[in-house]
Structure formats: C-alpha cells, structure tokens
Amino acid sequence: MHQKVQRPAMQCKVCYFAAAREAVDLRDSEVYEVENSTTLGELLDQCTRRYPALKGVLGQCLLAVNHEYLPTDVPWKEVRLQNNDEVAIIPPVSGG
C-alpha cells in the first residue's frame, strides 16, 4: 500500500534570556516544530506570533545560533536552520 510521503518536519530549540524570557512568561526555552529548511526569520515570526510581547524586545537583541552569535548585519531571512538547531535570544542587560 502506498502511503503519502510527509515532508519531515524538524525541531528547533529557542532559548530566552532576560527581557525575552519575561516576554514569554518566564520560560527558559521551548522546542518549535518547523518545516524543513525554515529560516531564522520564519522561526522568529512563529515566536512572536505565539508571544506578541516578544516583538518589542527582539529589535535590540543579540541572536545566537548553536552558541555562536549572529553578526548584526546578517539578515534573519537568509539564515537557514537545520534540525535540532538552538537559537538564543539575548537582550542587553544593563543593570549592575
């Protein structure tokens, strides 16, 4: 019997820090189910759809993919993610 081949989805983990963590109700991290070869921009759209408060924070955040920071001049829509990639959303903290 022929089964319809489903496009395998992949999983990406998003870690939230400081103000980003507060915008997502104090969650440390979450796993998102995304389509294959999703871009960072698409993943972050999913995040902000789930947590609109994150939208106001994202603009000044440093982003890291797999513990490596993403230079600020790289557009998010050009960053292709792979299965099990980990994205960190890191706002500046200025207190002391």
Binding site: F17, A18, R21, G56, H67, P71, P92, S94, G95, G96
Partner: protein, 455 residues
C-alpha cells in the same frame, strides 16, 4: 572608648567632612564658576589614598619584596601565575567604573590579589538598600551617607594597605572619561545604566584599552571582554541602544544579591587573565541565569564587525558623543519622574489623605506588581497591575457598578509614573473621575505617613 577606637572614629568623621566639603565646593563651582577653589583637594574630582606615603601614581617594580612573596605565596605556587604573573598584577593599574553590586566583589578581589593600583569611579552615596549585594560597603558608611568611592577605598585599604587607590567622586561623562581612563591598563565596566556603557566602550576603543564588562539584573547576568586581541566592542554586539522604556534597572526590577557578586567576581578573573595574557583566543559572551539549568552558557562572538561605527573599518565615531541623547536616557539607575498628566487629573498625597479621612466613597486602584503590593499597600486598595490593566478594564468598571454615580477612582503606584500612564489610559477610554496620586507611595511616606514602608 579606647584611644584607638576614638582615632578610627575621628578618621571616619574626617572622611565624611571631606566629602561634605567637596559636595559644597561642587555646588559653589556651579553657582559661581569663577570662585577660586579651596586647596582641600588636589584634583577637581579625585581623592588619592592619603595613607600612601608616595603619590598615587603607580611605580612599576622589577622584583617583589619579601613581604609580598609571603603575602602572595599561593599565587606564586601556581605555574600559571608565578613571580612573573604576580609582578604583572603588581605593576598594573585597573579602573573600575561603578562601586556597586558588580564593582564591590571585583574591587575586593583585585585588591586582595595584589593589583598595584585601583581607580574607583562612582558619583553615588552608600544607602542601606545597597547592602544586600554591595559587600564592599558597611552599615556605618550607609548611615553616614559616605560616597561609594570613599567607602570602597576604605575597604580596600583595610584589606591590602599596599594597594594604591584613587577615587573619582564624579559621574563619568564625555568631558572627563578620557582623562580619567588614560592612566589605566584595563577598564572594568561595573555600571548600572545604558548611556555609561556606550560611553565606556567608546572611550576604551578610542584609547585602545581592553574592557571587562558585566551586567546583572534580577536573576541574570552577562560577562564579556571587549576590544581585546581583535575581538568585538560593545557596539559590535549591540549597535542600537534599547528604547528607554524597555530598560529595567535594579531599583525597579530587583536583583538577587549574589548575582552581581558572581558576575563581579568573574570580572576580577577576566582582569587577571587580560593582565597575564591568558584570555581565551575565542571571545565569548557568558550568560548566567541563577535559577535555570545550566547556570552558565557561553556564546562565541568571534571578531569585531567591520561595519561597527567605532571599531569598524570606516569608523563614523572618532570622539566621544552625547550619550544621554544617543540612548535617550539618563546615566542613573533610577527612573525619571514622568510628567504626563495636567493638574486637573492629579491630586497630591495630602489631598488624597483628606479624601480618605472624610470617608468619601471612592476606589483606590494600586497599579503595582502583585509582588510589590504584597510588600505594603493602603487599606482597601484594589490591585490591578499596569501591565495587565489595558486587558482588564472591565474589572475596574465592575467595582464602580452598583453605585448611583460613578465613584471617583484614585490611581497609585510606587513612584507616580505608572499611575499616570494608567490614569491616562483609563481617561482615554472615556472613564471620568479618574485621578493620579502624585508621587505615589514614596511620597505618601514623606508627606502623610512616615511609618509607611519605603522599598
């Protein structure tokens, strides 16, 4: 009281009086710029260590003395430090900007480990609410309202009398940063606000100095060594300052005492590594999160960004800027007093106290967070935090139902800022008879009830 106790007391009084003289002289200089200044202080903003037999200028030495060998023997036994490493610490001058939660442990460890000279920049005074984290200060010095720089200097002196120290009782700004920072080998950013972070970064890039930077708020902290061995600067990572309304500071958001302690201690470690030439070739942003697992995460941050406005290939910033304008916020960790509403929709605490006394029916809406409401609140207050108020306006209206006329609503918070925003929001929805209580509960304590807690 023994003679030595009396001597200590007199020394303390002397220091406080010097602080007071300096503060008065500053006021005088502002009001009468041409008045010649007294010779109590050698420099307009610095106190040098008066216990030092020589000037506070660091004299570099070629060998350790026998007492130094005895004192630092645990360092000397480490192959990674040894005599050459200890000499590098001894011959180094480190500037710590901020003698608060981060600066406190950082300064103590740098002094203990034998750094030759420490500069301390802070314009603030010690307060009792500092003491849960700023372990360099004491109850006595908080009661005296001693300057933080002075207080830190006393602690350093008590810990290591060989450590030279210089206090800059001033707000670091574009007019003095280059002069203050120039004599130092490494700069530590232990400040609490956004504009000063950009200022220190830019000055370090312009002066070619490594910057050991950390921050702490609530349960989290960050640590990075900037502008060192081809690594990025603060602007490479955060080119745009956050909008001021999104910035939370320790006096508003709170901070767990040991969190800046962890980060400040790590700053002292990074200073040692910079001085000994032992920093990691891969620069990183270290993230600390006290109640999460793992406690630490390290993000690789690679090299500087070629497009950076100050350390890039074609820098557009070649001198210090106006950082208050750039960040649209003040270089302090206190929120500014907002002026949003006209007098029509505001009442003073005294007038609101009369309303309470007369027993006129009304609603008191307290818009602080529940955690703050639990610290203290006025009897019969209703708590709907400003953050959720826009989605819960019907709750306010429910409280009004049942009365023949619209009950007046008085809105209160801690300092009188959020209460104005909440009042403005309710008025914009067409609610009438809504008034902001000016100055909030802080003002309630000073104007009406001195027994009401201040936090």
């Amino acid at each position: 009281m023994s003679a030595s106790d009396r001597l200590v007391q007199l020394e303390q009084e002397n220091l406080v009086l010097r602080d007071r003289i300096q503060a008065l002289e500053k006021q005088l200089a502002v009001r009468f710029p041409n008045t010649p200044q007294g010779d109590v202080l050698a420099s307009p903003f610095s106190h040098t260590d008066t216990n030092a037999t020589e000037s506070s200028t660091l004299e570099r030495v070629a060998r350790l003395t026998n007492p130094e060998i005895a004192r630092y023997s645990r360092h000397l036994l480490l192959p990674e430090v040894g005599i050459p490493g200890q000499l590098q610490l001894r011959n180094a001058a480190v500037l710590v900007v901020g003698a608060g939660g981060l600066g406190a442990p950082c300064l103590l460890y740098l002094a203990a480990m034998g750094v030759g000279k420490l500069g301390i920049v802070d314009h603030d005074h010690v307060e009792v609410s500092n003491l849960q984290r700023q372990v360099i200060h004491t109850e006595t010095r908080a009661q005296q309202g001693m300057s933080k720089g002075r207080s830190a200097q006393q602690a350093i002196r008590a810990l290591n009398s060989n450590c030279r120290s210089e206090v800059y009782d001033t707000l670091l700004d574009s007019s003095n940063a280059m002069e203050i920072m120039t004599p130092y080998d490494v700069v530590v950013d232990a400040t609490d606000n956004v504009p000063t972070r950009y200022l220190i970064n830019d000055a370090c890039v312009l002066l070619g100095k490594p910057l050991v930077s950390a921050s702490a708020l609530k349960l989290e902290g960050q640590l990075t060594v900037y502008h060192h061995q081809g690594g990025p600067c603060y602007r490479c990572l955060f080119p745009v300052p956050p909008p001021p309304e999104t910035v939370t500071n320790c006096s508003e958001g709170g901070v767990l005492g040991v969190v800046p302690g962890v980060l400040g201690t790590l700053q002292a470690l990074e200073v040692v590594k910079v001085l000994l030439g032992k920093t990691s070739p891969t620069p990183s942003l270290l993230l600390f999160s006290a109640f999460s697992f793992p406690l630490f995460r390290s993000i690789k941050i690679r090299s500087r960004q070629s497009t950076c406005a100050i350390c890039g290939d074609q820098p557009t910033i070649t001198q210090l800027q106006d950082y208050v304008a750039f960040c649209q916020s003040q270089p302090v960790d206190q929120p500014l007093a907002l002026q949003i509403l006209g007098t029509l929709n505001r009442v003073t605490c005294e007038n609101y106290a009369q309303v309470r006394q007369s027993g006129d029916p009304h609603i008191l809406l307290d818009v602080r967070e529940p955690v703050e409401f639990a610290i203290c609140h006025l009897p019969n207050a209703i708590n709907i935090p400003w953050k959720v108020l826009p989605s819960q306006v019907e709750r306010v209206q429910q409280y009004r139902q049942g009365s023949n006329e619209d009950l007046p609503i008085y809105v209160i918070c801690r300092l009188g800022n959020d209460s104005q925003l909440a009042t403005q929001h309710l008025l914009s929805l067409g609610l009438t008879g809504v008034k902001d209580v000016i100055g909030g509960l802080r003002c309630w304590t000073t104007a009406v009830d001195p027994d009401f807690p201040v936090y």
